[in-house]
C-alpha cells in the first residue's frame, strides 16, 4: 500500500513540475518582451524577425517620431477643447464652429499623413516581405475602415500565414 501511495504522489508531483517547467520555458519570450524598456518595440522585433541593425534603424525612426506624435496630441487636445467650448455655448451653427471643424479635419489629415509617412519608413527598414506584412497590419489597425465604430473588430496581430 505504501509503495502504491508513493507512486501515486510521485506521478502527481512529476506532472506539476513538468507543467511549471514547460510553462516557464514557453513564456520566457513574453516575459522578456514585457520587461524590456520599450515592450512594444521588443514585440515588433520578435514579430517581424528584425536583425540587430534593422531593429536599431526602426528604434531610431520610432524615437524620432515620438516627439512629433506628442506635439500632434497636444494640438488635437487643444482643438478638441476649443470645439467643445464652442459647442457648449450655442444652439445653432456658427462660422466659428465651421472653422473649428475644418481645423479638426485638417489636424486629422496632417496626423494621418505623418503616421503613414512613419509607417512607410519603418516598413522600408524591414526585410521586404516583413515590411509588406507590417504595412498591411498597421494600416488596418491605424486606419480603421469603420472609423472606430464598435462591432467591427480588427485583428489583434499581423496575419500568420506570411511570416518567415
Amino acid at each position: 500500500m505504501k509503495k502504491g501511495v508513493l507512486i501515486l504522489v510521485f506521478g502527481l508531483v512529476a506532472a506539476t513540475v513538468a507543467y511549471g517547467c514547460i510553462y516557464f520555458i514557453c513564456t520566457a519570450s513574453a516575459r522578456n518582451m514585457q520587461s524590456s524598456n520599450q515592450p512594444e518595440l521588443a514585440w515588433l522585433k520578435e514579430e517581424f524577425n528584425l536583425s540587430g541593425s534593422e531593429f536599431k534603424r526602426v528604434s531610431e525612426l520610432h524615437a524620432a517620431y515620438l516627439p512629433q506624435c506628442g506635439e500632434m496630441c497636444r494640438e488635437i487636445d487643444a482643438q478638441n477643447v476649443k470645439l467643445q467650448a464652442l459647442l457648449s455655448g450655442t444652439t445653432s451653427m456658427t462660422h466659428e464652429i465651421t472653422a473649428a471643424l475644418a481645423e479638426s479635419s485638417r489636424l486629422r489629415s496632417e496626423c494621418q499623413t505623418m503616421m503613414l509617412r512613419h509607417f512607410f519608413q519603418v516598413s522600408q527598414a524591414m526585410p521586404p516581405e516583413q515590411g509588406r506584412r507590417y504595412l498591411a497590419w498597421v494600416k488596418e489597425k491605424a486606419f480603421l475602415p469603420d472609423f472606430g465604430m464598435p462591432g467591427n473588430k480588427t485583428p489583434d496581430g499581423p496575419p500568420e500565414s506570411t511570416r518567415q
Partner: protein
C-alpha cells in the same frame, strides 16, 4: 355501547375466510423459485465501496512496474501539454496587448490622454 362479543367476531371472520377462495393460479414452481431467490440473496457478497476499490488498486495494482511507469508517463504528458497550452494562450495574449500598445503609441487618435 357495543353488544357484540369478541369471540363472536372471531367466528364471523373465520367463516368469512373459509368462504374466500383464490381463483388465480400460481406460476409453475413458484415456491421453489422463491426459496432460490432467498438463498441467492443470503449468499450475495456486499458491494465494495469506491474507496475500498481505489485503496485496493493503489495497494496491489499500481506498484506493478509496467503500470507504475505508464501512470507516471501519462501524468507527465498531461503536465507538459497543459503547461504548453497555458503558455501559448498567455503568450498570444501578451503579444496582442503589445501590438495594440504599439499602435496606441504611434496614433494620436488612439493614444491614451493624461
Amino acid at each position: 355501547m357495543n353488544t357484540i362479543q369478541p369471540n363472536e367476531d372471531d367466528k364471523k371472520l373465520s367463516k368469512l375466510l373459509h368462504e374466500w377462495k383464490v381463483e388465480a393460479s400460481l406460476p409453475p414452481r413458484f415456491q421453489e423459485q422463491v426459496w432460490r431467490r432467498i438463498e441467492k440473496a443470503e449468499h450475495a457478497p456486499n458491494a465494495p465501496s469506491v474507496w475500498t476499490v481505489i485503496a485496493h488498486w493503489v495497494g496491489t495494482v499500481l506498484p506493478r512496474p509496467a503500470l507504475a511507469a505508464s501512470y507516471v508517463a501519462i501524468l507527465l504528458a498531461i503536465g507538459v501539454t497543459a503547461g504548453w497550452a497555458q503558455a501559448q494562450q498567455e503568450t498570444a495574449q501578451v503579444k496582442a496587448d503589445l501590438a495594440d500598445r504599439y499602435v496606441r503609441v504611434l496614433d494620436p487618435y488612439q493614444a491614451p490622454r493624461h
